[in-house]
Subunit: 257 residues, 2 copies
């Protein structure tokens, strides 16, 4: 099924927007932007913006974060058209994540279209986040699998996560996972740990290729980080390269190639 | 075994300090301080400080956090003698948590004696945190069980978490769990979801009594939050009450009562 066809199937606004952007910009590339200064953050976002459907942030690693950054980020979002996914990996009980999502310095619910959470604490984590996010038109991804070595998010853990998502389809738009987990097309699948040139880092991260992820494993969105802006990289050239490889794999999957 | 005897068994400095404070102040109470303003945060900490061994924080829910707060918190720590446990529940790959722990606005590694993490991503999460925390003399708790309804941290997940801790005994000082998980006394057990007056909240949290946790389940530290500073509570009276009930349960366990 094409991204456009998929877009129409969601009741959740953010999920529809995501696939509309993917189809319009012809990119299933999400940038995982793990830098620690505003300057780098904004420069790379502006450079890579035309080639991505989604910007994945870790807002809490920026040493000079301030409210102005959010304003600048929103301007770049309007300029380039991408969704913002704060990869907070919420992992606490419902009452706590509700505060972490809406309060504090970062006020994530005010600017992040998409957030993610671990299913580990049980349904309360989804209920807590939903209380905040659903009225704001946000969407949640559940972490069903992880790309790191020795991850415990496998087997029955993954199955329980899928069941949890199905109980909260109004707010849970999909999964962080290595592969499409359900036969139906009701959920978005985003896959991290994607790289063309290396297979691991020194702290347990493992990389797979965009073609493997999109074509073989049926995922929807590739998440690429250090492969694009790592030391010595030409970020625009790398972003185009990943966009092209990811899109070609998609066209091959739907039979256009 | 007494807290003092336990203290001598640890190579990790923070674990030793924790049990020394517990014994000296005769309290196994940790306060879970989930408030959203500096003023409340500091007022409650100063009031409850004499009765606790550990202050558990969610620094990222404070709407008016600034560097001055950390200075004020450190002054209260020196005044009352307790350890600071930032309940960040790190839950990402090693390279990311390393940044989340040391960078950003909060610079958690600079002021938190103890942090916690989910074992879910695999050993890389411990390795990443250890790179930052071990040289600073910090300690890590792994979440082996959770107190919320429908938690997936059970069975083989809990077992794998215990095994992970045993592979990293220099930095992992113990567990967040509902009960003592190993026959030996090599790890600290801290138990959240403790309350005397209620059994649940509206978002899946479930409460047990201090006596149940310390005496029946063999845990070391009770973590109490809304039971102490919830609406209409006399925080000093409640802190004393939980301290007394927790300590009596401990004395009963070691046969002094």
């Amino acid at each position: 099924m094409t991204y456009s066809e998929r877009a129409t199937k969601f009741t959740n606004k953010v999920a529809r927007e995501l696939f509309e952007i993917v189809e319009r910009k012809k990119t299933n590339l999400a940038l995982a932007l793990d830098v620690t200064t505003k300057q780098e953050f904004l420069n790379i976002t502006d450079s890579v913006g035309p080639y991505i459907c989604c910007l994945k942030t870790h807002i809490d690693i920026l040493v000079d974060f301030d409210d102005e950054l959010i304003e600048q980020l929103k301007r770049l979002q309007a300029k380039h058209s991408f969704l913002i996914f704060e990869d907070r990996k919420f992992a606490d009980i419902g009452n706590t994540v509700k505060h972490q999502y809406s309060q504090g310095i970062y006020k994530i619910s005010e600017w992040a279209d998409i957030i993610d959470a671990h299913s580990l604490p049980g349904d309360g984590i989804v209920s807590g986040l939903k209380e905040v996010g659903l009225p704001l038109g946000r969407g949640l991804l559940l972490l069903a699998e992880m790309s790191s070595k020795g991850s415990l998010a496998t087997g029955s853990y993954t199955d329980a996560t899928v069941e949890m998502a199905q109980r909260h389809k109004d707010f849970v738009i999909g999964f962080i996972a290595g592969r499409k987990l359900l036969m139906n097309d009701d959920f978005v699948t985003m896959t991290p740990g994607v790289g063309l040139d290396v297979t691991k880092d020194g702290l347990g991260q493992q990389y797979r290729t965009p073609r493997d992820v999109i074509l073989e494993s049926g995922s929807d969105i590739i998440i690429v980080g250090r492969g694009i802006y790592g030391s010595g990289k030409d970020v625009i050239a790398e972003a185009r390269r990943y966009r092209d490889v990811g899109w070609n794999a998609y066209e091959e999957r739907i039979g256009k190639k």
